[in-house]
């Protein structure tokens, strides 16, 4: 390529293209075509959206018409101290059922065993009640957080049970040897399972003395939770002695407040009460949560106050059992010093924050006065 050739091409193009007579710009014709293109694009976009919506709806319809695959259940031998008695995968999500002490760290004088799903959603194992022979206790949990559409169950057996065969509504058969788990000084012979279909669960129970059969209804795992009902709460057959006690009190404006905790079949509940200056009741309010293990720092929840305490924000929850003192920093410059209250081995705190203020730091101090944990992740008002 040489410069002369380039120059010649440039010159000739300018001569020849430049000499081309050009008609006036057909503005109306071009804008008309442009509007047509735009209209076609819009139609195409609308059609694509409609097709996508129809495809999703069709897929959902097909999915709904297909029978649900039953949950797959495998059994584990529990590791030392782990308390796991059943595990598996349901709807593609792994799960573990274990017996754990939900009260405090090992060695504490208090102990309260519970069945936990994946380390959460505890169902307290109570005193064995009058149930069919060989079955001391049992519980069912449906549609817990993190396992949508799945159900879980367990049975606690008498010592003579050697084998259990479950027959699920889906047709799945599960042949299990109950697992012995020791927690809180008690030995639990226990088995667990998962299910995805409602219907009758048939059990064949083998003991050293023979064989018995029984059946239980399994609830619908896809049933929407009624408003106000606590999601992730086990429905346990046996009676459970609830532990309860006041965990905090103080004044909020012209009223005095108290917060009480109750731990039982209804979960972990906090009840707030206000009293007026004359000592008359100004109402009560209550909130319940799923039972959880003692936290490393805190599991703090907002607790509703009766209307008379409007503007104030109440908190209650568990703290690490090591905490001898808790200091809560409020953004108005005040610090609240709280002594955790021990109820049945679990360490609770409760406090109230004035209107338009916010708690932003919570520090835990041991008996020697050293802060060993803190958090700024505190639930806020609104």
């Amino acid at each position: 390529m040489n410069g002369t050739d380039e120059q010649r091409v440039r010159q000739r193009l300018h001569e020849e293209l430049g000499a081309l007579e050009i008609s006036p710009a057909p503005v109306p014709r071009v804008t008309g075509r442009g509007r047509g293109i735009r209209a076609r694009r819009r139609t195409l976009a609308a059609g694509t959206t409609l097709a996508a919506v129809l495809a999703v709806a069709l897929a959902a319809l097909v999915d709904a018409q297909q029978p649900r695959a039953p949950g797959t259940v495998t059994m584990d031998s529990p590791g030392p101290g782990g308390g796991v008695f059943a595990s598996g995968i349901t709807n593609g999500k792994p799960w573990r059922l274990a017996v754990r002490n939900v009260v405090a760290s090992p060695g504490a004088p208090w102990c309260l065993p519970a069945v936990m799903l994946n380390g959460q959603d505890g169902g307290i194992l109570g005193v064995p009640g009058p149930h069919p022979p060989s079955i001391l206790n049992g519980g069912v949990l449906t549609d817990p957080p993190g396992q949508p559409g799945a159900g879980f169950g367990f049975q606690q057996w008498s010592a003579d049970v050697t084998r259990v065969v479950y027959r699920f509504p889906s047709g799945q058969r599960l042949d299990q040897r109950p697992v012995a788990v020791t927690e809180c000084g008690q030995r639990f012979l226990i088995s667990g399972y998962s299910f995805t279909q409602a219907g009758s669960l048939r059990l064949t129970i083998y003991t050293r003395h023979g064989r018995t059969e029984t059946h239980f209804p399994l609830p619908d795992t896809a049933r929407p939770w009624p408003p106000g009902q606590l999601r992730g709460l086990w429905s346990v057959a046996s009676s459970v002695p609830a532990t309860s006690g006041d965990i905090g009190s103080g004044t909020a404006g012209r009223s005095s407040w108290t917060i009480k905790q109750t731990l039982g079949l209804g979960g972990q509940c906090y009840t707030s009460a206000l009293r007026g200056q004359a000592g008359g009741s100004a109402g009560q309010d209550r909130v319940c949560h799923v039972v959880s293990l003692p936290p490393a720092v805190t599991t703090l929840d907002r607790v509703p106050l009766p209307a008379a305490g409007s503007g104030f924000t109440a908190y209650a929850g568990l703290v690490n059992p090591r905490a001898a003192k808790v200091i809560v920093s409020i953004d108005n410059g005040a610090n609240l010093t709280i002594r955790p209250v021990n109820v049945a081995g679990r360490a609770y705190i409760a406090f109230v924050v004035p209107p338009s203020c916010r708690a932003y730091l919570l520090g835990l101090y041991d008996r020697a006065g050293h802060m060993f944990a803190s958090t700024t992740a505190l639930p806020q008002a609104g």
Binding site: R8, V9, R10, R12, E16, G18, L20, A25, R33, G34
Partner: protein, 176 residues
């Protein structure tokens, strides 16, 4: 599109129309097709005017639409061409187009492969850099340079770039 946008577009179109038709004519060698391609490019620009208006270089945006439309037309023509058992009647050519308007160099350009033709027109008529030409054609600047060299060699071989630069013109009657 509001009245202000319409006015802006009309101004844009009026000022760019001639340049786009000439560019398309250089690419296709067909006057009416060139006008159609220019209209297509501008109509697309009208349909996406909010985007064209905000582009760093609206001219490059419209040029790209035009070149892409030209490529599509070429592909369609290739696909739609079917061999016939009997030769169609010979078309009567319009002397005002084939001889007068598509003169010597432009006629030789039509003998080049489409990409080389586009490189010549964009480089020497539009005056774009190798990088700008490459960006429009979807190739590198070095490819543009090599395509330009090959195109110039072919044009030189065709005799359209005579040693004195005065290449013969196919003056067959009519005036421009």
């Amino acid at each position: 599109m509001n009245a202000s946008d319409r006015e802006q577009f009309e101004e844009f179109m009026t000022s760019r129309w001639a340049g786009l038709v000439r560019l398309a004519f250089g690419l296709t060698g067909d006057r009416w097709l060139a006008e159609d391609l220019a209209q297509t490019a501008l109509a697309s620009a009208y349909a996406s005017w909010w985007r064209v208006r905000r582009a760093d270089d609206p001219d490059a945006y419209v040029r790209r639409i035009l070149i892409n439309a030209s490529k599509r037309r070429l592909r369609r023509r290739r696909v739609s061409e079917q061999p016939a058992a009997t030769a169609p009647e010979a078309a009567v050519s319009d002397p005002t187009i084939s001889v007068d308007e598509r003169s010597a160099l432009l006629g030789a350009l039509q003998g080049l492969p489409p990409r080389q033709r586009a490189v010549v027109v964009l480089r020497y008529w539009e005056g774009l850099t190798d990088a700008q030409t490459g960006a429009l054609l979807g190739c590198s600047a070095s490819t543009v340079r090599s395509q330009a060299a090959r195109a110039l060699a072919k044009l030189r071989a065709s005799g359209e770039l005579g040693p004195d630069g005065a290449a013969p013109r196919r003056q067959a009657g009519g005036s421009r």
